[in-house]
């Protein structure tokens, strides 16, 4: 077991979420805006003083100092803004690792300042920062946002490959339900600050998201019912 978290709460945003992630698992978190995906990632990453129990490979990461934390977990925030114009190379190094990911094609970016990169390029550098310390648990918030279709696929394949080398796992918050179905070993559905369901089969999807899959496309439930009438 890579992660076992019990009754995790963050004041007003996350209510008693319990979650287990096994070795090599890629778990996707889906849910409407404001359902608590980011809050759950925050709680696991030790952001904002969460209550509840967390054991990551048997250790509570909140007890670890800056020297050890990146070996256990790294967190990629949804924002691609970096407050300070560092060189891409230094940004990755400050995260506690080295930018050795041929798949991300970082070589031409490393000696450029992060504020001079396009959003997609910046995303690749920030993802490299999160991957570089080779942590037990990757906590990624919308890693495919701002990436073109080919880069989305390459990125998710890289994540899959990274967690395949033993003792590692990933928890990925993502809005794209198709991407979640395509890449995840398991899908957790969040709603109003709680983990409400597992998987995307069943009536809970229409209840929580207000959409249903019709003819291979996600359609608003109200539009579907009016078509039926």
């Amino acid at each position: 077991m890579i992660l076992r978290a019990d009754r995790l709460s963050l004041a007003g945003r996350l209510f008693e979420a319990s979650i287990e992630i096994g070795e090599g698992e890629l778990v996707c978190l889906v849910g409407p805006n404001g359902s608590g995906k980011t809050s759950l990632l925050h709680a696991l990453a030790g952001i904002g003083a969460p209550s509840g129990e967390i054991a990551m490979a048997g250790v509570d990461p909140r007890t670890l100092g800056p020297g050890q934390r990146p070996g256990f977990l790294t967190y990629l925030p949804a924002t691609r803004d970096v407050p300070w114009p560092l060189l891409a190379r230094d940004l990755v190094a400050l995260g506690g690792g080295r930018a050795e990911f041929p798949a991300l094609e970082l070589a031409p970016l490393l000696d450029r300042r992060i504020d001079t990169l396009s959003t997609g390029e910046r995303s690749r550098v920030l993802i490299a920062r999160a991957l570089a310390p080779r942590p037990r648990l990757l906590l990624l918030d919308e890693p495919t946002a701002n990436l073109d279709p080919l880069w989305q696929i390459r990125l998710m394949e890289l994540v899959r490959q990274e967690i395949g080398d033993g003792g590692r796992a990933a928890l990925v918050a993502i809005h794209d339900l198709d991407a979640a179905m395509r890449y995840a070993d398991r899908i957790l559905v969040m709603d109003r600050g709680r983990i409400a369901a597992e998987g995307l089969d069943g009536p809970h999807v229409a209840e929580i998201f207000g959409v249903a899959r019709v003819g291979g496309l996600w359609q608003p439930v109200r539009a579907i019912s009016s078509q039926v009438e």
Binding site: H42, A45, L64, Q68, Y75, P83, W84, L86
Partner: protein, 322 residues
Amino acid sequence: MTARASALLLLALAAAFAASALLPLESLRTLFADDRDLALSLLLELRLPRALLALAYGATLGAAGAAVQALFANPLASPDLTGTTSGAALGAVVTAYLFGFAAPVALSIGAVLGALGALGLLLALAGPRAETATLLLAGLAISALAGALTTLALALAPSPFAFYDAYDWLMGSLIDRSLDQAAFAALPALAAILLLLRLGPALDRLALGEEVAQSLGHDVARLRLQIVCLTAFGVGACVAICGAIGFIGLIAPIFARRLTRGHPGRAILPAALIGALLLTAADLAARLAPLGRTLPIGVVTALIGAPFFLWLVARMRWKLAS
């Protein structure tokens, strides 16, 4: 920072310190020929405290500027532009009326409290990750308020002498301070700089963003409190002895980061060295300027610093426009 850059900086600093203590040479030479004891006491009681104060105050402004810029993630934050120095000056003037200018402990405490109040107010007004405009406006408002209150305090001066003392001190000056007074500024300043240096690695990671820094195991709220307290402590102690001196805290970190490939936390040490160098040089310029009298050092730093600040603002505008 490379070894060669540090060596060069230290060398320049030593040269500036020596120049500051010894120049102008003629007066010393004449005195040594006439009266050895007088010459020695001139050196020890006038020149040495002054050179030490320039070092300590300059280093504090440089280090505090680098730390505050890293904290606000903004290269235009500095102790003077954010109102910290004016807050310290207000605290010191008010304390001086209560206890007199000859009570350095009370003066220092007053200045530190004033600086803390100003920085605390800034954090409350502008927020920890303020936009440049918000930060500068809030800093301007705090400076203006502290300045107005200081002027009010001057207007209500208990006696013309108190008024003159306070006015003279407000101009920012390193002159006529005793070795004891120099120690009163230099020791807290040194402590503040050393403690700020320890926060460098955390400030570098704060450059990745607040959430990422927290996920890496840094307590950002505590870090913010530490920077605010240390900055107020160091700057307050110096302001209490020498009055408010501007722009060093803005300029030194900007040059320092050229030596650290832009790392804001790592820049604290070179910023301290460059700050010490700049203030020592400004003091020399104030003293050796061929005007027949010594200029107030605050005027010299403002004359050099204000155009530099304008240039920075203009460059930011060009960048936004392009």
